[in-house]
C-alpha cells in the first residue's frame, strides 16, 4: 500500500514538474525564417586552415636558431 502511495506521489510530482516546465518554456517557432546556404558557403570559403601550435613553435624555434647560428642554414639546406 505504502509502495503504491509512493509511486502515485512520484508520478504526481513528475506531472507537476512537466506542467511547470511546459508553462515556463512556451512553444518555439520551428520554421526557418531565411535560407542559410549563403552563410554556409561563406563559412566554407573563409574558414582559415588551422595550424597546430607545435608547428608555430617549430617555426619559431627554427627562426631563432637561424638568426643565432646563420651557418646552420647551410647544414639545413644540405640535408634537404
Amino acid at each position: 500500500m505504502k509502495e503504491h502511495e509512493d509511486k502515485y506521489m512520484t508520478e504526481h510530482n513528475d506531472r507537476e514538474i512537466r506542467d511547470a516546465l511546459k508553462q515556463s518554456f512556451p512553444p518555439v517557432n520551428t520554421e526557418l525564417r531565411r535560407d542559410l546556404w549563403p552563410d554556409v558557403l561563406r563559412k566554407l570559403d573563409v574558414r582559415p586552415v588551422a595550424v597546430p601550435w607545435y608547428d608555430w613553435a617549430l617555426a619559431g624555434l627554427s627562426a631563432v636558431m637561424f638568426l643565432a647560428f646563420p651557418r646552420l642554414v647551410l647544414v639545413f639546406a644540405y640535408h634537404l
Binding site: 510530482n13 513528475d14 507537476e16 514538474i17 512537466r18 506542467d19 511547470a20 516546465l21 511546459k22 508553462q23 515556463s24 518554456f25 518555439v28 517557432n29 520551428t30 520554421e31 526557418l32 525564417r33 531565411r34 535560407d35 542559410l36 546556404w37 552563410d39 554556409v40 558557403l41 563559412k43 566554407l44 574558414r47
Partner: protein, 173 residues
Amino acid sequence: MDLLQRFTHGEIDAFETLARQFQGDIYAWIVRIVRDPGTAEDLTVETLWRVYRARHRFRPDGNFGAWARRIATNLAIDHLRRNRPEQSFPTEPAGVPQPDPLVQRETRERIQQAFRRLPAKLQVAATLALVEELPYDEIASALGTSVGAVKLRVFRAVRILRKRLSHAGITPE
C-alpha cells in the same frame, strides 16, 4: 552516381542540394533545444559546415538526416554547456502561496533558471521529452544512445529540478 555519393566525394553542388533540403529540419531540431532563433540559425550553419567537413565519414547508404541531426545535437549540447548559468538563486521559505501574476511570472523565470543549470545532457533529454514531448526513440537516436539511457537522464533531470525548486521554496503550479 547518386546525390549522397556525390556529396561524399566533395561535390559542392550535391552538398548545396542536401543543405537546402535539410536546413529546415536541422534548424527545427536545434531551436527546440536552445529555444533561441538566432542561436539556432548560427548552430545550423555550424552543423552544415561540420557535415561537409565530415563527409568522408558518411556512408552513402546511411540516413543523412539522422546523421546531421546527431551532429546538430552534439553542437547544441556544447552550446548549452558553454552558456550554463553558474549563479544559483536565493532560497525562500517553502509553501508560500503565489496568486499574483507577477509572482507567477517570476516563478516561471526561476524554473527556467533552475532548468538551465542542469547538466547539458540532462537538459537536452528533459527538454525534448517533457517540454517538446517527442518520442523517446527519436530522442535516443539523436543523442546516439539507448531509450533506457534517455529515460534515466529525464528521471535524473526531474529529480534534480524537483530538489532545487523545493530548496528554493518554489512550488510548481
